[in-house]
């Protein structure tokens, strides 16, 4: 079962009663998707760690308002996302290339013949650099799909928007990426 749809009502009921041990179970369960989600938006290991932990603190403080029966991660993701986007905006890095961002991306392995492998490796390298120049929201939606492998329905649920908007945002994010690659090539 995916993080976004898991039901944790038993643990959350205990957390709502102030049980820190139960909260630690919840944190350990979601720390990895939380960290990588933050990393996709802010592009720095230290900031992703800091912001994902900060979001857990906010979740702890607001857990009383959590409605049982809902997915914890979807609820938590909204807190995390707001924190990350505010962080990016406060640092005024939204409009400029995310210089550190390419450092947190790497390529998967390739088993092609040497010539094709080299060409693909060059393209991937350009894509990796261009990803750093995308806006946070564009990078986020591409990575939710490509890295986390969420379906459109799941992304719509996480971002609180219709599936049509997810497709539209993906289209424009990919189009922007394509433009960046073309500009770099010219």
């Amino acid at each position: 079962m995916n993080a976004w749809s898991r039901n944790d009502d038993d643990i959350i009921e205990r957390v709502q009663q102030g049980d820190k041990e139960a909260f630690s179970v919840l944190v350990r369960q979601y720390m990895k998707p939380a960290y990588f989600s933050a990393l996709a938006i802010v592009g720095s290991h230290d900031d992703a760690l800091d912001l994902s932990q900060q979001a857990f603190i906010r979740a702890w403080k607001a857990i009383g308002s959590f409605e049982l029966g809902r997915a914890f991660y979807t609820w938590y993701y909204r807190i995390l996302r707001n924190l990350c986007l505010n962080f990016v905006r406060d640092r005024s890095v939204r409009a400029q290339p995310f210089s550190r961002y390419p450092e947190v991306l790497e390529h998967g392995s390739s088993e092609d013949n040497p010539l094709e492998a080299t060409e693909r490796a060059m393209l991937r390298e350009r894509v990796r650099l261009a990803m750093g120049k995308l806006r946070s929201e564009e990078r986020e939606i591409i990575l939710l799909r490509e890295f986390d492998g969420y379906s459109y329905d799941e992304i719509a649920s996480l971002l609180e928007c219709p599936v049509g908007t997810v497709m539209s945002r993906l289209y424009y994010a990919r189009k922007h990426l394509k433009t960046l690659l073309e500009d770099e090539h010219d």
């Binding site: 944190v27 790497e106 390529h107 393209l123 991937r124 990919r174 990426l177 394509k178 690659l181």
Partner: protein, 150 residues
């Protein structure tokens, strides 16, 4: 091609790229690919998709996961500590201010206008504090935009 058709093609193209195309949409998408512009865009996007699919976010050092909860717990603990420090400081400063004001008020050598000044200052500070707290509380309860990202 109308704007609506172009929009429809884009949606179908995203679905096709991400493997979310329903069986009934397949033939509709194939029809669009008969258009050279659509076919060219499809190839370009497929190229981008292929390249982004291979990207991965680098994993941090494994020991980060062992220390992750400790980091959250320390912050929780510090949050409570800061709250207690703030509460203690407010109580002590308030008590100190009251004691000082009372001592000055009892001082027979102090002119009346100074005493009136002290009372006015204390009452004014209390009113300001009350007003700020009330405003914050009211905003917290009624601000429908509090969840909106700045």
């Amino acid at each position: 091609m109308t704007d609506m058709e172009r929009e429809r093609f884009r949606m179908l193209m995203m679905k096709a790229l991400d493997g979310e195309l329903a069986g009934s949409e397949r033939s509709e998408f194939d029809t669009f690919l008969g258009n050279p512009d659509c076919e060219r865009e499809w190839k370009e996007f497929a190229h981008i998709k292929e390249a982004t699919m291979s990207l991965q976010l680098k994993s941090p050092a494994p020991e980060i996961w062992d220390r992750y909860w400790d980091g959250v717990y320390n912050r929780l603990e510090r949050g409570i500590a800061w709250m207690l420090v703030t509460l203690g400081a407010v109580i002590l400063l308030g008590w100190g201010a009251m004691e000082a004001a009372a001592a000055l008020w009892r001082d027979a050598d102090l002119p009346l206008y100074v005493k009136i000044g002290i009372v006015a200052l204390c009452v004014g500070l209390l009113l300001l504090l009350f007003s700020v707290i009330r405003e914050r509380f009211f905003t917290m309860k009624t601000d429908k935009y509090k969840g909106v990202i700045r």
